[in-house]
Symmetry: C2
Subunit: 190 residues, 2 copies
DNA sequence: CCTACCGATCGGTAGG
DNA sequence: CCTACCGATCGGTAGG
């Protein structure tokens, strides 16, 4: 369907621009220029600038949950589970680097009630990793440590690492495993 | 209690607002309101909005170098040196959390030639940590690994960790040591 | 998807 | 530090 395709084009270009310049510094005219149309024409496909941001932020949230939640429910042992979850998280970022950067940085420009919804969702997601660490500690697979600090440190490291990386398809998988292993082996294993 | 020079007051409030809303989403009128004056009055103390951003970004750059460079030149063994450098880095962030957040996120809104200068400086700073890791590997104090990946992972973890933390004076030092130790012990020691 | 246009707000200046 | 104001640009609408 033609309209859908156009809407996707808008979203893709918006992801790029929001990542590069930030949401507030990107004008609808910038976005329209990138697509070779007039700013007014955008509104045939979307109803507001913020709607685009919402689509990116909540769409990525879905992607992250869809990738990581199944892993947390699996029967793997704690270490393998955490490492798999981390790799799943990293894979989502690697495959959607623009959208991920927007997800990580631009969500604060959401208006209410979306802002509150987003924050809640983000807490729930981080909780997945905290729980994995807690489980590992409880079952004596991980050394004893502050699960919240460790989980946050791990997520932080992964998120930031991809910030300034181009992640070419070739070395992408190697880097993902490298990082996931580095973190899990180093920080977690007793 | 001595009152701050107006220029310093402007900078402090700007740091808060730039951090909370982002540089582009913060207007000079927002900033003026926060100080209880008119927007036009700001220009008696500063010459442009971007000048404020420049002051924050390059001022923090100086703070980071001043704190970390001496450590890299010290005679400590590789592990102690890296951990000290990391703690110095973390202390600067903890003591200037608003300005650090701006330094980390808002620099991209600098115009040329400041943008290029900033990027160069940032590379030089990261290089300090890469070199520390390389030294440790060369002297067989650290396990063999990709120094650039490790250094970046460490910095990433530290930077992000303070993002959403209030860092109350009380638990600040504990957290700094906790994080620095976690990273160095876990990722680096052979 | 375009032309034509809106009110609001932007960073900044003039002049006191 | 204020009043008064500037041209530019913003997100968005009307109507075809």
């Amino acid at each position: 369907m033609k309209t859908l395709a156009r809407k996707d084009q808008i979203r893709l270009k918006a992801q790029m621009l929001f990542r590069e310049r930030g949401y507030s510094a990107t004008s609808m005219r910038d976005l329209a220029d990138e697509l070779g149309i007039e700013a007014a024409s955008l509104y045939n496909h979307i109803s507001s600038k913020e709607e685009i941001l919402q689509g990116i932020c909540f769409g990525m949230a879905e992607s992250f949950f869809a990738a990581v939640e199944p892993v947390t429910l699996s029967a793997l042992d704690p270490k393998a589970k955490l490492q798999s979850a981390l790799e799943a998280h990293l894979r989502v970022i690697a495959e959607n680097s623009d959208a991920s950067a927007v997800f990580l940085h631009e969500w604060r420009h959401l208006g209410e009630p979306f802002l509150s919804d987003f924050k809640l969702m983000r807490r729930r997601y981080e909780k997945l990793f905290v729980t994995l660490v807690e489980e590992g500690i409880a079952r004596d697979s991980f050394k004893k440590m502050d699960a919240r600090v460790v989980a946050r440190t791990i997520l932080s490291a992964t998120n930031w690492t991809f910030e300034s990386q181009k992640t070419s398809k070739s070395d992408g998988d190697a880097t993902i495993q490298q990082i996931a292993e580095l973190l899990v082996e180093g920080l977690i294993r007793r």
